[in-house]
């Protein structure tokens, strides 16, 4: 039963998430935190942070790790399969069909029409992360780290992996 839940939790983000792996993150969060309650928002943000500090696709790293936490090695395999297989099967099997319709305006607007909804989901998740941080370390600490991160990431264009490592060091020293 747990494997069926893992399968569904990662199948849904995989088949409705347009815009690549990052777009599926809030959908995964909805299943994992809100729907099934396997993790808290704070745990999810840790997984996401460490995931962002490593290379490679983010959706499969999240699926593999969360699947493992919830259902062991088989759980990880199920979660990965559910994330990867449906869209890949569509791509391999329907390629000639998609190719024929790729210039159809309806197919073209498929990936556009979901953008606002994905943005809303991402915005909600952003709010959740800040709210979580406000509850655990307080308003000023959250504000300070947030502003600093924004500058380092966007203005000085420091690599996200370094920003996360920097944050870990900062937390170990000042928030312990």
């Amino acid at each position: 039963m747990i494997y069926l839940h893992i399968f569904l939790a990662f199948l849904i983000p995989g088949i409705v998430g347009y815009g690549g792996g990052p777009a599926t993150i809030p959908l995964i969060e909805h299943e994992v935190v809100t729907h099934y309650g396997w993790m808290t928002t704070s745990q999810f943000s840790e997984v996401l942070a460490l995931g962002n500090s490593l290379p490679g696709p983010i959706a499969t790293k999240m699926a593999g790790y969360i699947g493992f936490e919830v259902g062991g090695v088989f759980g990880a395999i199920v979660a990965l399969f559910a994330t990867v297989a449906p869209s890949l099967l569509l791509m391999v099997l329907l390629l000639s069909l998609i190719y024929r319709y790729k210039d159809s305006p309806r197919v073209k607007r498929l990936s556009k029409v979901v953008l606002p909804a994905v943005a809303i989901l991402m915005g909600t998740l952003t709010f959740d992360f800040f709210y979580e941080s406000y509850s655990s370390i307080g308003l000023w600490e959250t504000f300070f780290i947030g502003i600093l991160t924004l500058f380092i990431l966007e203005k000085w264009k420091v690599h996200p992996a370094f920003v996360i490592v920097g944050g870990l060091v900062f937390g170990a020293i000042f928030l312990a």
Binding site: P57, A59, G64, V84, V113, A117, T126
Partner: protein, 193 residues
């Protein structure tokens, strides 16, 4: 055998060197597939990428699986997929399980606290880039309407986001496209869309 090893190397390298999720690994995949190993030319690659973007789900695995399949059949698909997914998942497991062992250490707790607002900012930046893409793709008015409707459905009515997106997708496929009809008229050909 050489081919499978090359497929593995191509997708292993692009997975391990690409930070920032699947979409940011695409230029690296392009470099391997078109540049280093010459399995495809530029045009074929951008065709595959365009097709991949018309389907949902992670883009890196769709590209890897399809390109692997195209050059070496089912086994090629599997090799490309494993090379893309497995190394980083294993790294992730190793990192997080060792991290969790020191969960009760106050320094490690400080680390996990500090990281929450940082991913908050990263998610905020991602939100902003999707809002910009929505504006470019749909325009202010349609984009704005869809944004408000999505907000009402997901936040106020608490509908499952999968259902909301599913309805949007069906709408995109079924509803008539006025703007395009005019364009078809101008071009003077009807393709029965």
């Amino acid at each position: 055998m050489k081919l499978y090893i090359n497929i593995f190397i191509a997708f292993f390298r692009s997975g391990m060197l690409g930070f920032g999720g699947g979409p940011s690994t695409i230029p690296l995949v392009h470099k391997e597939v078109v540049g280093t190993f010459k399995w495809m030319n530029d045009e074929e690659f951008s065709d595959v990428l365009a097709l991949g973007n018309t389907l949902p789900g992670p883009i890196a695995t769709k590209m890897a699986g399809y390109i692997g399949y195209r050059i070496a059949g089912i086994l090629g698909l599997l090799v490309a997929m494993f090379a893309t997914v497995l190394p980083t998942v294993l790294l992730m497991l190793a990192l997080l399980t060792s991290f969790n062992q020191f969960k009760d250490n106050p320094n490690v707790q400080g680390m996990t606290h500090a990281v929450v607002p940082i991913v908050g900012v990263m998610m905020g930046v991602l939100t902003w880039s999707f809002l910009k893409k929505a504006k470019e793709g749909l325009g202010w008015i349609n984009g704005g309407i869809l944004l408000i409707v999505s907000f009402l459905c997901i936040i106020v009515l608490q509908l499952h986001p999968g259902i909301v997106i599913g309805v949007l997708l069906v709408g995109a496929l079924v509803l008539p496209d006025k703007k395009k009809k005019i364009e078809v008229h101008v071009e003077g050909k009807s393709e029965g869309l």
